[in-house]
Symmetry: C2
Subunit: 360 residues, 2 copies
Amino acid sequence: MKTLQVSLGERSYPIQIGQGLLTQTDYRAWLSHKHVIVVTNTTVAPLYLQSFKECLEQQGMQVDTVILPDGEAYKTMDTLNVLLTRLLEIKAERKTTLFALGGGVIGDIVGFAAAIYLRGIPFIQVPTTLLSQVDSSVGGKTAVNHPLGKNMVGCFYQPKAVVIDTSTLQTLPEREFSAGLAEVIKYGLIRDRAFLEWLDKSMKAIWAQDNEALSEAIYRSCQYKADIVAEDESELGVRALLNLGHTFGHAIETGMGYGAWLHGEAVGAGTLMAAELSHQAGWLTQGDVEQVRHFMQLAHLPLKGPQLGADRYIELMQNDKKVENGDLRLILLKALGQAEVVTWKDSTLLKRVIESCCDA
Amino acid sequence: MKTLQVSLGERSYPIQIGQGLLTQTDYRAWLSHKHVIVVTNTTVAPLYLQSFKECLEQQGMQVDTVILPDGEAYKTMDTLNVLLTRLLEIKAERKTTLFALGGGVIGDIVGFAAAIYLRGIPFIQVPTTLLSQVDSSVGGKTAVNHPLGKNMVGCFYQPKAVVIDTSTLQTLPEREFSAGLAEVIKYGLIRDRAFLEWLDKSMKAIWAQDNEALSEAIYRSCQYKADIVAEDESELGVRALLNLGHTFGHAIETGMGYGAWLHGEAVGAGTLMAAELSHQAGWLTQGDVEQVRHFMQLAHLPLKGPQLGADRYIELMQNDKKVENGDLRLILLKALGQAEVVTWKDSTLLKRVIESCCDA
């Protein structure tokens, strides 16, 4: 087992990474009461809920469970309301701990419910997808989507712990595995060219779920994320760089209808748009852009965005949380391994780049 | 003008109290962007929205407005959703400031929206009822109600400033004025017997809206609240004492249907129940209870709770946020001017006290 720490003063918490942790972890030190509620979805429940519940009960806990529908389309205020009502019916108290057992959607919605139920109760992230293990379970961003924009409503609210059982990835569909890799590649692109080189060599082993390569990829990703979050919890500065490809990606997700494209797929295509724009802005070389494309290929990610029309892209991108004075603020690459927030006003060039990066 | 400070490190903020402040305050120092959105209700809008909007425009701001329906019955997730959607349509950004212009319902719902819109944007409280001026606008408790319980969903989220214009009380209905006095009396009961004595002498002048007496009552109330919040922002300890009468009161509000009883009316009747229970527990004398009743009379507040049935009261009280291990935790009075949190297990005595404090 490997352990990392997210350093946030009294809100600090550990990230534990290893095979079989789901049912081999002693959760008791993180709990202030024996009543816990495991929230999961209809896909994960048949795979892991029973064994996880038994593990918790063996540790003396009184366990309730809530099973939500699966998928980005359900990351809504309506599902949040269903969950909050269930918590009231179950009589969850201020010291009851919620467990988020599932992928990014479960983590985001359970974290948000924990943040606002009785004005805040504790929760623990137990991510079971690659995307949630390398990115969304760490750092305390919680949210639901709004028809007008992705993740528009939520809180910064940190979990008490993140427990990453890498063996849960054995049941993950390939398409979801791909999607998670988009966020792994992202860390290399925004801050560590050497990590990109390691990824290039290791991608085959990662795909084969070789334990050493896979857990190294997850560990390194969590380390980047933990460092950035410790430096800038509420995204006043450097944390925005983690949004590489996301302004484009969120437009794809919202524009196509939540769930049609997986978040990681949309981020992958969006990252290629950001790379191309960085090239047009004179920062990346054509060869750099090809490198980015190469990584998306290694990850089996889509290389083109969907054809929504550039105007629609820009309309959707205007709902981004980083917009200031009506101007887009995009994460662009100065070089491979170096990102920057750029206020972008040239919509003509932006439209041309979007068109060139979309399916014909 | 009188000024107080809520001391919470980098989240500290001022409370300003005075006649005419609504349109005489320079709001610019608290804003990070010229775009502001005033959120108010259908009752307050015709009275104060136009002049307030003009004041803000004269200070160079770009002002949008949102008018919500009035009343506790609308402090719901549905209204919150309407507000969040309007914010997206107006294209509120992270630096846009919301103004909550109205009573406790507006303050609570606008504060909650500010807490979760784009994961948090700034807001300013401009309370226009006595209850919100002496209590709910200070301290960062935000929430909406749930059909199963009052204020069950919300955040601790502090405003950038609280601007209290005492002259807005001239348009406040008498019933609302009464309701606000319940919270003023509360401060005396929980921590300052001398303040109770001052209130006894000053109540006539306060009712007459004598400026000196009224602003002193508001100032002292805000001072108690600010001190308690600075000591215990997230209610791990002393802040719970501010809940005197509230566990009973919330049961009344939920049980009667939100809005049938005003919050302050329910708190007044609930405080009498807490006083009677404190007497039965051997702490307050019968004379002390009469004193509490005397204050409720001075405030023209109901002296009996509605007849819901003691079992129903207790069922509703079980949804209180302070419940621990299924046990009620009530704020009781050790003496006039001294309160304590008590874990209460004797439901027979509790039922008898509730019955004796309800309308026949």
